[in-house]
């Protein structure tokens, strides 16, 4: 039961969203108007709709269609799709209404070429929503769930210069996002209990889940997610404020799709979590309160969209209540309610959008009598409103009938026997009054505000609300068993877990629901007639407990806590660093499982007869390293400290050479020198007056800090000593990994150097990353100092200066403005080409002798650095203008990737070892192979050289414009 085509609708819509985003480019958006663009884009949801329809016959025979691709195999998480009747119902609504909304949006935003942004968001939202209802896995579901929250945030805040829109968007994100977190935890618990994340394994484990100790917990958590998303009381407060979204978005998100996500989730999980007392009471009570709240508050609104928002809340409560019931008729009512509501509510929203668009207001106190100006809008709106009112022969009537049939079902507990029917009747009456008010006060009577002058909307714009309105008319009247009844039955069965029969006959004989319906209609008409008085009464009744106040209080509280928490931050970097280090040390001591029991007997004390071959040299090198490091702490001037640091690094190089690790020693030497050069250059660049102060504070008599730092340092040192000692005396004689490299280095990579083989071949991707990091460091320094530094400096440096090759009148000065001798000049002239030759040899024979592309690059850049020291900044830039750092970096990295791909084409593994020279039959010097690793070395060399030149260039650039006579490095 796998069907890879299931993913196609999602991909089509997603691609359309990306295509819409492309029209953000002015070159493209100039060529096509928004309305035409929307026609093209609407093809995507339409195609998806048709594609999904083609699965309908399959659903009659199979329970569900599934598809998955392996994703995080080790965690057992796959990207799964699951398509059954319930998913199908929602997916059809999403793609069908989605098509209408996209077309409508094209008309709504006519002339606004910035509307590609809206189209992108709405298509992205559509893709996410489709993914949500077709997810076959709780993780997949959750990802799409969050995606809908985030994209709806973007849609609500679409008019982002409107403060109300931003606040509404934030509120919606805050509430639904918070629910999303609860949902995530709940879903994780469910999949933990079921031993799998896919719905296939969850849905038939209902008995295990219901009997589990965590059942109440997971129910509450998942319900929190669903209730917040579906605007259930008391989380309903976000929905009315989300009306600040453009009307096409409201029509789509807040009628047909996003708010139904919670309904979908609960219906989906009903077979697994439902059919318990807790479930029944939780959903019934929440749903009923929501339903009554929505209906009651809806009648008192003055804004057309707000009326619709509250009636949506009311409808959502009703649907939630249906899921809580465990009867066949309830699930029938659920699916009919979903379909009816989606049809009439999307139509009404779009109609309200038209009214708003054409008259300029949605205020019921100003509208009235626009039926003459907008006859078609009036007719369509009336049909949709009649369906909302639940009047025959519209589809909404059937929805209300089934609701009432559920309300009088004999299986209800006695405490609800009266409450449930009366709540339904009152809701029905209020809904009827609301729909009457919507139509009457907008279209009939006389205009309350003469300034409001409407005119008919373009036909294309009317098309979108007309189709669902006509459908809600037609579905009720068509006779006989039909396809849509079968679809609804499949959806209801999937939610119920048992077979549900659905017939769409309007007339089912004279029965209790019909009588109740009559009561509701009568009551509703009364409410409608006396609506002014009712509304006046409602406005007088001040609701003491406003949940918006709770929300505001929570947000304020979070802000207060944040302010309090940031007060702890006193902004001293040194303290942060000390706390972090102390924390790390504490963690290592506490939980690091340190080897305190060291077998001291095993330790061989060094025999101080010094007859050992290398021991004396090692001790010397260690002494040099540690001593120089200590000196760099104690020496007074920064310049000497840098030199001591260099000496310490050279000590490390000696140790590496004694290991023996010649490759490392070589790199250590060149890097150490380069680091020293760059440090000295950076020191020279720093503003002069700061030197004195900085050097004084190096030895400030700040005793508490010295003691604190000393303690941290001592503790850190002790820990490292313990670990090192333990590692050294318990060394295995055999390495688990290295043996493989030793055995295969030559045969697999053609390299004699095992270290080189690891770097260039076995772990070539690491090396590629490494040079990328190095290159980014170089580019970052360049960007920082060229563009950011100028912002803060007094003598605004030109952002991008031109060192032209024009005649420079300044005599050649070395670094710090010192004159340098011609002898050294000659040396510099020789050094650069020489280092280049050395570099080439390093790269050519790196696979059998120490040295590699990195060393080669650093060596050349050292020669360049030498030029900077000898000739000074300006002169060097003028003479070495052909060393283009950024070009070198990009050439290097692109070459590495190109070589990797070329090798992949030959040996189907990225950067695999391929001897291109042999392949092409070239005659090359002995011992040299034109192989992947050589070309990779060249790439490394180029990018490293480029990056190092950027570093030297930028850091070596004197901050003073002209050479100064006193050497700044020397003080």
């Amino acid at each position: 039961m796998t069907d890879s085509l299931l993913v196609l609708p999602f991909l089509i819509i997603f691609t359309a969203a990306l295509a819409a985003a492309l029209f953000g480019l002015p070159q493209l958006s100039r060529r096509i108007s928004v309305s035409r663009l929307s026609w093209i884009l609407a093809l995507a949801p339409l195609t998806s709709f048709v594609l999904l329809l083609s699965y309908l016959p399959d659903l009659q025979t199979k329970m569900a269609l599934t598809w998955h691709i392996t994703w995080l195999q080790s965690e057992g998480i796959n990207l799964r799709l699951y398509f059954d009747g319930l998913s199908a119902l929602f997916a059809y609504l999403i793609t069908f209404i989605g098509t209408l909304v996209v077309v409508y949006a094209g008309q709504y935003f006519k002339g606004d070429q910035g509307a590609w942004r809206f189209l992108t968001y709405i298509l992205l939202f559509m893709a996410a929503m489709l993914g949500l209802v077709m997810a076959g896995d709780v993780i997949t579901l959750f990802i799409f769930w969050e995606a809908t929250s985030i994209i709806s945030f973007l849609l609500i805040a679409y008019k982002n210069d409107d403060k109300a829109a931003r606040q509404g968007a934030f509120k919606s994100l805050f509430i639904t996002g918070g629910g999303g977190i609860a949902l995530f935890i709940g879903l994780l618990i469910v999949s933990y209990v079921c031993g799998g994340t896919s719905f296939i394994s969850i849905l038939d484990k209902g008995d295990i889940l219901r009997r589990h100790d965590f059942y109440p917990l997971m129910l509450i958590l998942i319900a929190a997610g669903a209730f917040t998303k579906s605007a259930q009381f008391p989380a309903h407060i976000w929905l009315p404020e989300a009306m600040s979204a453009p009307t096409p978005a409201s029509a789509y998100l807040h009628s047909a799709t996003m708010v139904k996500a919670g309904i979908y989730l609960m219906a989906r999980l009903n077979p697994a979590l439902g059919m318990t007392e807790t479930w029944f009471w939780l959903l019934t009570v929440t749903g009923m309160i929501t339903m009554l709240t929505g209906a009651y508050l809806g009648l008192k609104q003055k804004d057309l969209k707000a009326v619709l928002a509250y009636s949506t809340i009311c409808q959502l409560g009703m649907l939630m209540m249906m899921i809580g019931q465990d009867t066949e008729i309830a699930f029938k009512a659920l699916v009919i309610g979903i379909l009816a509501h989606a049809l009439y509510k999307s139509s009404l929203f779009l109609i309200v959008g038209i009214v708003d668009h054409e008259t300029g207001t949605r205020d019921l106190r100003r509208l009235g009598g626009v039926r003459h100006a907008m006859p078609f809008t009036f007719i369509i709106g009336t049909i949709a409103a009649l369906s909302m009112a639940g009047l025959p022969p519209l589809f909404g009537f059937l929805a209300k009938e089934t609701l009432l049939a559920t309300a009088v079902h004999p299986s209800l507990p006695s405490s609800l026997m009266w409450l449930f029917p009366w709540a339904s009747i009152i809701t029905g009456a209020l809904m009827l009054a609301m729909s009457g008010m919507l139509v009457w006060d907008t279209f009939m009577g006389k205009p309350r505000d003469p300034a409001v002058q409407g005119h008919e909307a373009p036909k294309l714009m009317l098309l979108a609300p007309a189709i669902p309105a006509i459908l809600s008319f037609v579905i009720g009247l068509l006779p006989g068993p039909r396809e849509e009844a079968a679809l609804l039955a499949a959806a209801a069965s999937a939610a119920h877990g048992f077979k549900v029969k659905v017939s769409l006959a309007l007339w089912t004989g004279l029965n209790i629901p019909l009588m109740l319906s009559g009561i509701a209609i009568g009551l509703g008409v009364l409410l409608f007639v006396f609506r002014q008085r009712v509304r006046a009464f409602q406005t007088r009744m001040i609701i003491k407990l406003s949940f918006n106040a709770v929300y505001t209080w929570v947000i304020k509280g979070i802000e207060r806590i944040a302010r309090w928490a940031t007060r702890l931050q006193q902004g001293k970097l040194r303290t942060y660093l000390a706390i972090m280090l102390a924390g790390a040390i504490f963690l290592v001591i506490g939980y690091g499982d340190l080897p305190f029991k060291i077998p001291f007997l095993d330790i061989t004390w060094p025999s101080f007869d010094f007859s050992g071959e290398l021991a004396i040299l090692r001790i010397f090198a260690l002494y040099l390293t540690v001593g120089a490091a200590l000196a760099s702490v104690l020496l007074k001037t920064d310049f000497s400290a840098i030199l001591a640091m260099g000496a310490s690094g050279l000590g490390i190089a000696v140790l590496m050479a004694l290991e023996p690790a010649p490759d490392v020693a070589l790199v250590q030497v060149v890097v150490d020198i380069l680091a020293m050069v760059i440090l000295v250059l950076a020191l020279a660049r720093l503003p002069h007056p700061q030197h004195h102060h900085a050097q004084n504070i190096s030895f400030s008599k700040d005793r508490p800090h010295l003691i604190r730092d000393g303690l941290i340092a001592a503790a850190g040192g002790m820990i490292m000593m313990l670990i090192t000692l333990f590692m050294l005396i318990s060394r295995p004689r055999q390495s688990a990994v290295t043996q493989f490299y030793e055995a295969n280095a030559e045969s697999m990579t053609g390299s004699k150097s095992i270290v080189g083989a690891i770097l260039m071949d076995f772990r070539a991707l690491d090396t590629l990353m490494e040079i990328t990091v190095f290159s980014v460091a170089g580019l970052g320094i360049y960007t920082l100092l060229r563009f950011a530094a100028g912002k803060f400096s007094d003598s605004l440096e030109p952002a991008d200066e031109q060192v032209s090759s024009s005649v420079n009148n300044w005599p050649t000065y070395g670094i710090g403005g010192r004159k340098t001798s011609s002898f050294i000049h000659a040396l510099a002239y020789v050094a650069l080409p020489l280092t280049m030759i050395i570099a080439v040899f390093h790269m050519m024979y790196g696979h059998e002798k120490p040295g590699d592309g990195f060393t080669a690059g650093v060596i050349v850049s050292l020669a360049v650095g030498f030029w900077y020291v000898v000739f000074g900044y300006e002169e060097t830039r003028r003479r070495l203008y052909w060393l283009k750092a950024s070009a070198l970096i990009s050439t290097g990295i692109l070459l590495a990737i190109a070589v990797g791909i070329a090798a992949a084409l030959v040996k189907d593994s990225f950067l695999a070892n391929v001897d291109f020279g042999k392949m092409l039959g070239l005659t090359l010097p002995k011992g040299f192979h034109l192989s992947t690793s050589f070309l990779f070395e060249v790439a490394i060399c180029l990018s490293v050289l480029g990056s190092a030149i950027h570093m030297i260039n930028t850091l070596g650039r004197p901050s003073e414009k002209r050479p100064i006579q006193s050497a700044s490095v020397k003080d």
């Binding site: 931050q569 001293k572 970097l573 280090l581 330790i603 061989t604 090692r618 260690l622 490091a629 200590l630 760099s632 702490v633 920064d638 400290a641 310490s648 590496m656 290991e659 023996p660 690790a661 010649p662 490759d663 490392v664 890097v671 680091a675 760059i678 440090l679 950076a682 020191l683 720093l686 700061q690 102060h693 900085a694 504070i697 190096s698 340092a713 850190g716 000593m721 090192t724 000692l725 590692m727 055999q734 390495s735 290295t738 030793e742 280095a745 030559e746 004699k752 150097s753 270290v755 690891i758 770097l759 490494e770 990091v773 190095f774 460091a777 970052g780 320094i781 920082l784 803060f792 990195f854």
Partner: protein, 111 residues
């Protein structure tokens, strides 16, 4: 020999951490460079065995030094070099922006 190496590594770490915590921001950077080399030394001592020959394919059959930590150290050296250079650029920015090299006077994080 082990105990001397371990002692030296521990001492080096202590010195470097201390140096990193100095008020003079350039000293702190020097501490960072030194810390990187201390870590490299520490990595080296995690190798499986002490060889007497470098890790090259040869026929002599004598014990070679462990190639794996060496490869790791090579990468670490390069990365820390890039990091150091970047830190220096940041120091440059700090010293132009705050007109100081005293870490305690860098107060942009204070609310």
């Amino acid at each position: 020999m082990e105990i001397i190496t371990a002692f030296a590594v521990g001492l080096l770490f202590a010195i470097d951490i201390f140096q990193t915590l100095r008020r003079n921001i350039l000293r702190s950077a020097i501490g960072l460079v030194l810390l990187a080399s201390a870590i490299n030394l520490f990595l080296l001592s995690s190798g499986a065995y002490n060889g007497i020959e470098p890790a090259y394919v040869s026929e002599t059959g004598s014990v070679q030094s462990d190639a794996l930590p060496q490869a790791l150290i090579l990468t670490a050296i390069v990365i820390s070099m890039g990091g150091t250079a970047f830190v220096l650029a940041m120091i440059n920015i700090i010293s132009t922006r705050y007109k100081t090299r005293d870490m305690d006077q860098v107060n942009g994080l204070k609310n």
